[in-house]
Subunit: 125 residues, 5 copies
């Protein structure tokens, strides 16, 4: 599937995602290697198959939340789920599920359970 | 209502909203399908009717708060109301009402009531 | 005062403010109608008089804080003062005063008083 | 030192600072008048002397933190030190010292002392 | 290793890093001098050797988290580790390790230990 614009291996195959209007720059390797069975990996492994749309600057369009995608991309980069205080884990969970990153979704479900034990939080925050 | 620039169905009909100066990229499907009776759905369903203005880059201009629109767009994407800690729900409620997303406005009213029970918060935060 | 580039009424007269480097897109109606006696209203009502400077993209330059201007613009849009947790109300007050939005400044003064009752906060946060 | 592109006095002499990658738009008056003895004032008063570098869009390059510069620029605009909750005052102090704004640095030192009295905070936050 | 586009010494050798989609402008001196043995220093000292990729605007592409890189760049600027409240130190630690800034990684490990003593925090926040 190697094309002319990827001469030096997947590692140097840079791409930009336009997630809901914010741009994230990463490599195909990051999107594909860490969770090869995820929907996200398939979207960028079988490019021709998926026919992802691109914006005028060439960024791949994805109609999802940029804010909650950020920890997901970091997870794909280094394997750790790291979220700042105040960020709603339910938002990250929605994205993990959408992109089919199962292992991360499970980690998030555990974290959500642990973060709201006796005092029942509302479903919002 | 299908026009030349929408060859492959509503799902691939991407558009950008310029909400108060920040750009959000999404699909017409997201804006129209989840809450078909909302003002927002009508604005983007009956395009010719509404005559929405566009900025020089083609983004549709809406004179509202980008910050509080964010959870509304996410709600239209996946059906969940998810808001970070510290974000004022009254701000999200104003946008839900403006865009005529009634079901979400009701959810927000309940959430606001639940978040300030005995200790009477000021109307600000 | 209607000019060639405003064919369809004040309501459709879009403009962009470059506040300290961040751009806010809004309508002249929003800036002028809610608080017609404010300095901000005068700045954009009597355009020729004030001679507001524009940046290369045509946005009107204002040398103030973008962060604290945000709730002020929202107030002009819908009439509510809504501020997120952690945002320093003193910063919003400085902008309300600068732009001569008296009613909002008074609301903010009350809110500031209410937010720091017995335990004397430092003048900073 | 008045040049052709500054016809209407220092007040209308707009410039953009590229602080670590984020752009701040302000006037030379703001940078120079409030604290005329600061390094920042000298940098922009004696332009020819300092030979400040500019990025391709003409913004003056400064290799510092944009986040912690923000309250400093606001201070130069209106004379008040105003910082949001959660912003590390030590970061603002580093910038105040770098730009040689002595009076502000002293205010910050007092505020830092007051914010961490008996319970000894770590040097980080 | 001095080339034609660096006439006035390392100090004036400005460059932009595109970290995961956000751009940081800094000098080669900042990246190289403070921690000369780090991977980051080597990346920008031995430019020809590393063959860093650049985006269309000339910014050097690095597939990492912009948010957690920010305190690292500030550390290289002034030697202090300064992080806002709510920012997850584990995120900063991942970046410090990736860029091989050993002394900072050690400081972060101590700070993380100190910030979660008896009440065992989850590995997430």
């Amino acid at each position: 599937v190697k094309t002319a614009d990827e001469p030096s291996g997947a590692n140097t195959d840079w791409l930009t995602l336009n997630i809901g209007g914010r741009c994230f720059t990463t490599t195909r390797t990051t999107l594909v290697n860490k969770e090869p069975d995820s929907m996200l990996a398939h979207m960028f492994q079988d490019r021709e198959l998926w026919g992802n749309k691109q914006d005028p600057r060439g960024a791949y369009l994805i109609d999802r939340s940029p804010e909650y995608f950020e920890p997901i991309l970091n997870y794909l980069r280094h394997g750790q789920l790291i979220v700042n205080e105040g960020i709603n884990l339910l938002g990250v969970l929605e994205e993990a599920r959408f992109f089919g990153i199962e292992q991360l979704a499970e980690q998030l479900e555990v974290a959500i359970k642990n973060s709201q034990p006796p005092e029942d939080h509302s479903p919002i925050s």
